[in-house]
């Protein structure tokens, strides 16, 4: 194929779990279609702010950050796909993918990074998990040091998720100086 790359088994991850589908990466952008129809994601190459690669258990994850703050995560790439797509992104989109690392240490302390709509919990300079603030229905401050994020109840996705995240809270000790004076968000 001269006009890009086609992958038949790529999952889109999100709030409700993951959905399998087909991903086409072509000169004009990225197109993902859910297996069996329904949801589709279409991203024009001019809307792409950046792409990331991350090694996840047994496979690789592609992150695509776009101009409106959204961030798509596609999982299911082999190591050789990473190499060929990295070339493709550089040659066709003029974008050099960044490499991210996944934290699997199991620690519950780290840093919180805010980027676009995404809140990332970073442990030892590796990513432990990410949540989208677009899905947060309410934030609460509890006491002086705790921030609670409540997520929308989402019944619409036919995803493979049995247990759904409802609420998450962070403890920000007084010794943390990064977020002093910001009373809106952690």
């Amino acid at each position: 194929m001269t006009d890009g790359h086609l992958f038949n088994n790529i999952s889109l991850g999100g709030r409700g779990g993951t959905n399998p589908g087909q991903l086409k990466i072509h000169a004009g952008g990225i197109l993902w279609k859910k297996l069996g129809g329904g949801k589709a994601v279409e991203v024009d190459k001019s809307d792409i702010l950046g792409v990331t690669w991350m090694k996840v258990p047994r496979t690789n994850q592609l992150g695509v950050r776009i101009k409106d703050g959204l961030y798509y995560k596609f999982t299911g790439f082999r190591d050789q796909d990473v190499a060929s797509l990295t070339n493709f992104f550089m040659n066709n989109f003029g974008i050099t993918p960044e490499e991210k690392q996944l934290s699997v240490s199991g620690h519950n302390w780290g840093e919180v990074d805010l980027n676009g709509n995404m809140l990332t919990f970073v442990v030892g300079s590796k990513q432990a998990f990410e949540v989208s603030l677009a899905d947060v229905s309410q934030t609460q401050l509890q006491g002086k040091n705790d921030v609670i994020l409540e997520f929308h109840v989402d019944d619409t996705t036919g995803a493979n998720e049995k247990d759904s995240l409802m609420e998450i809270s962070f403890h920000i000790p007084n010794s943390n100086t990064k977020f002093v004076g910001d009373e809106n968000r952690p």
Partner: protein, 136 residues
Amino acid sequence: GDNRAAAKASTDLIAYKNVNDLSLPKDLMIQIDQKNEAVLLPIYGSMVPFHVATIRTVSSQQDTNRNCFIRIIFNVPGTPFNPHDANSLKNQGAIYLKEVSFRSKDPRHISEVVQLIKTLRRQVMARESERAERAT
């Protein structure tokens, strides 16, 4: 006391060394990895591991609509029975994940998860406080 010693030792524990050490589940649901002493939580389509020693309490409840909820509270510094230890001083400036709540479609699975976490946590804490005592 014991709590302090255990908390101090446990914070050095690591669930996995490598990304590929994680087993890949069929379904996205809370899982316990006894061998690696880890609790795996489905967050945004990924299984996120936490060492069982970072967990302080776990509980479940059911509402009138038969929805089942599970709440996991993690150790954070400066709370009763978990005083500032060598580790929290070392991690000055760190932000802690304090609590997560999940809604589940399967009450039986949740009560099993709660039991497994409690048992595993008890075993690991006993082992760690024994180890700390031997070291002193």
